[in-house]
Amino acid sequence: MANLRDIRRRIKSVKNTAQITRAMQLVAAAKMKKAQDQALAGREYAQRLTQMLYDIRKNFGEESNPLLERREGKRELVFVISTDKGLCGPLNTNLARKIRANTSPDADFVTVGRKLRILCEKLGRRVIADFTVKDPVPFSQTRPIAKFLSQQFLEGNYDKVSIAFTSFVNTLRQEPEVVTLLPIRGHTDGEEQAFETIGKGFNVEDHKNDPQYDYLFEPSPHDVLAAILPLYVNYEVFQAVVESRASEHSARMVAMKAATDNAKKFIKELTLEYNKLRQGAITAELLEITTAMKAME
């Protein structure tokens, strides 16, 4: 049985831990609110942009813009968005598992976030670039990433570019996802389901029966496509980063809340045990005194 002083020491240390986790919880909660707002605000735009591409898909062939071109090769580049810091529950582990299941085993990586970059390096995968993005996410910092990814694709270094990120569902739920960014699959050839998007905004099934139009283009189909596709890539990258951030802060908030609650429960149990022991000690002492008195009489 532990003695009184040991228990007192443990209560103190658990209390300290609880204080720290509580502080982290509050910080994460404040950041979470901002990040969630940003993620939700951007969804509408990203969704509309996707819809626009989807609507005009029949007016274009694969050959009308290099960003649409499908290639035979299998070289894959994966853009991974993880967190810089840990203590956010199973977020990064889940994402890593998803990546292992859904990308080719010899893919190269571009990373945002320290955690999975370190993992990639440990596993001996090639990380060709690493970006840092501030918090809250400014659009100007994701633009260079989108540019880099498009460049790698256009120069023919890779035949496919995917984004691995954590999609924000709600505060308690975040889902790891791997989505193909390039080539943009806006056209149809019997596999419309392949039209993926960030943030669950756009569901192909919902739009299957939309009326089809022959669109006019101004100034010209080529110019419109040349402007809209890079914009689409920019926004998909931005939205993926924003979603991941919202997920990160939500996950951390929840993890830290759980930690604080656990610590509090633990303190309660320890205090109970401490009081029991203390009472036991007092009773024993009293007993000793009374027996001694009885013996004197």
């Binding site: 605000a41 509309r48 626009m52 022959d214 669109y215 101004e218 419109v224 914009l231």
Partner: protein, 137 residues
């Protein structure tokens, strides 16, 4: 009122309701859109857009972007969409000046994309200013 108009920016959904007509600053000049318009996708220039909503003409300053038109629907995607009341003259002027200074500064060489971005800011801020001043008079 048979035309559904949606105006969306990256920050928020600015407007979504039925309107009678829409005028947009297209890449090749202003275009008016009435119900039953042919399907159209156009690039937008920074400038003014107008629409008739419950008998009232509403004017917004918008940035560059895209618009998709179908027979019953107009979707406007743009970087900025501000009504006259939302525009603050001095901050807008500041934005223009900052962008111009950055463009003019010889220290850091800007790549083409950066230049286009700054020019976009100048163009959309100018459009906002123009609208504000028009209503003042």
């Amino acid at each position: 009122m048979p035309l559904q108009l949606d105006i969306v920016t990256p920050e928020k959904k600015v407007f979504s309701d039925m309107v009678d007509n829409v005028y947009l600053p297209g890449a090749d000049g202003e275009m008016g859109i009435l119900p039953q318009h042919a399907g159209l996708v156009t690039a937008l220039q920074p400038g003014e857009m107008r629409y008739l909503h419950h008998g009232q003409v509403v004017t917004l300053a918008i940035g560059s972007g895209f618009a998709e038109v179908t027979q019953q629907k107009v979707t406007v995607l743009t970087d900025m969409a501000l009504g006259e009341g939302e525009i603050d003259e001095s901050t807008t002027e500041d934005a223009i000046q900052r962008a111009q200074e950055k463009l003019a500064s010889p220290e850091h060489s800007l790549d083409a994309e950066e230049v286009a971005y700054l020019q976009g800011i100048i163009a959309q801020s100018s459009a906002a200013l123009h609208l504000k001043r028009k209503f003042k008079r």
